[in-house]
Chain length 199, copies 2
C-alpha cells in the first residue's frame, strides 16, 4: 500500500532535489499539503518561471533571464580589464559581497572532471578564449576552489591564457582571517607556509 497517486507523485517529484531521499521527500510533501499550500503554489510557479526564462549570460555564463547579465553590461567593469574566473554563481555573490572587486566574472558552472566526462567545452572555455581575444583584458584572476579539481582547472586555464597577452593570477590560500592555527587543516597550513610573505 502506498499513498494516493497524487500524493505519491509529489513525494517522487521531490526526490529530484539534491540530498533529498524518500523520508525527506515525504516530510516535504506532508508539510506543504498540511501547512503551507500557498508556499507550495508559489514554489510551483517559481520553478516553472525559472526553468522557462533563466538561461546563461552569453558572456560570463552566470545564470540570468537576460541575454547578457547586469555585471557584463557594466561599461565600468569592462574597462577595469579584470576577469575573475569562478566555479559557481554562488562564488560571484561571495566576491561581490566583499565589495573589493570591480571587474567582470567568468562562471565555469563546475570544474574539469575527466571522471564525470566534464571537459573544457563543458565549462565554456571557448567563450572565455573569445573574450580574451576580443576584449582588452589585462588580468585573469583564477578563483576556482582550492580542491584537486579546482587546482587542475586553474592550471588548465592558466596554460590556455598564455596564448593571449594577459597576466594570470591565483587567489591566495592560507589560514582564514580570524582562524586559529590549531584548528586549520594541515593542507591549508602548508599552503600558508609556502605562500609566506616578508613582514
Amino acid at each position: 500500500m502506498k499513498f494516493s497517486p497524487k500524493v505519491q507523485g509529489l513525494i517522487e517529484a521531490f526526490k529530484c532535489l539534491p540530498g533529498v531521499g524518500a523520508k525527506s521527500a515525504q516530510r516535504m510533501a506532508f508539510h506543504l499539503l498540511e501547512r503551507n499550500r500557498a508556499g507550495a503554489d508559489a514554489l510551483s510557479e517559481a520553478l516553472s518561471v525559472a526553468m522557462r526564462d533563466v538561461g546563461h549570460c552569453r558572456q560570463c555564463r552566470n545564470f540570468t533571464e537576460a541575454d547578457v547579465c547586469d555585471i557584463c553590461l557594466s561599461e565600468k567593469r569592462k574597462q577595469s580589464g579584470l576577469i575573475c574566473v569562478v566555479e559557481s554563481p554562488a562564488d560571484v555573490i561571495a566576491i561581490e559581497q566583499t565589495g573589493e572587486f570591480q571587474g567582470r566574472y567568468f562562471v565555469l558552472m563546475g570544474h574539469l572532471s575527466p571522471i564525470d566526462g566534464i571537459g573544457p567545452g563543458d565549462l565554456g572555455l571557448d567563450v572565455l578564449e573569445t573574450t580574451l581575444q576580443q576584449d582588452n583584458v589585462s588580468e585573469l584572476i583564477l578563483a576556482t576552489n582550492p580542491t584537486v579539481e579546482g587546482e587542475a582547472t586553474a592550471h588548465y586555464i592558466a596554460s590556455l591564457a598564455k596564448d593571449f597577452n594577459v597576466s594570470v593570477s591565483r587567489i591566495a590560500h592560507g589560514v582564514p582571517v580570524g582562524g586559529e592555527l590549531e584548528y586549520v587543516d594541515g593542507n591549508t597550513l602548508s599552503h600558508a607556509l609556502s605562500g609566506r610573505k616578508n613582514y
Copy 2:
C-alpha cells in the same frame, strides 16, 4: 548584489520547505537549473496538481484526492470494527506495511499541543466522535507516538471514547525487536520494565 530576479525568486520559494535554509535553497535552485530542468518541471507540475486535488478523506482525514479514501471504502475493513488512531499519514503506511492490521484508521494530522494552539477540533475529533456514534466500532487502538504530546493526545481520546460502547487500547511500548538493551534509552527501558508480561 543578488542573483537575477527569477533565480532569486526560485531560491526564496525553496525556503518554504521544512529544514531548507538559504544555503540549501541555493543549492537546490542551481542543481535544477544546471542539471535537471526536466525534474524541475515535473516537480512544478506535481506540486500544482497535488495542491489543487489532494484533500482529506471525509472519514479518516488521511490525504486523498477522493472524497473517501480506498481504506475507508473497504467494506471488509469497516466490518472489522477496529479503528487505529495515528498522528500522520506516514504512520498509516508503516502499519499497513506490517500486513497485520485489517481495520480502518483515523489520522489526527498532528497531536494536541496547547502551546501551538492545536486543540481537539484541529485534530478532527468531532469526526471521530461521529464515527464512534454511528458505526459499529468495537475497538479503538491508540497508536499515537510515545512522546509527551502523543501520550496526552492518547489520554484525551481515551477519555472521550468512554461515552461510547467501545474498548480502547494503546499499542505496546518497549525494547524494539532486534534492539540491544545497551543502546535503548532509559525511558524506553523503564516502559519495557513496567509493561513486562508473564513468561
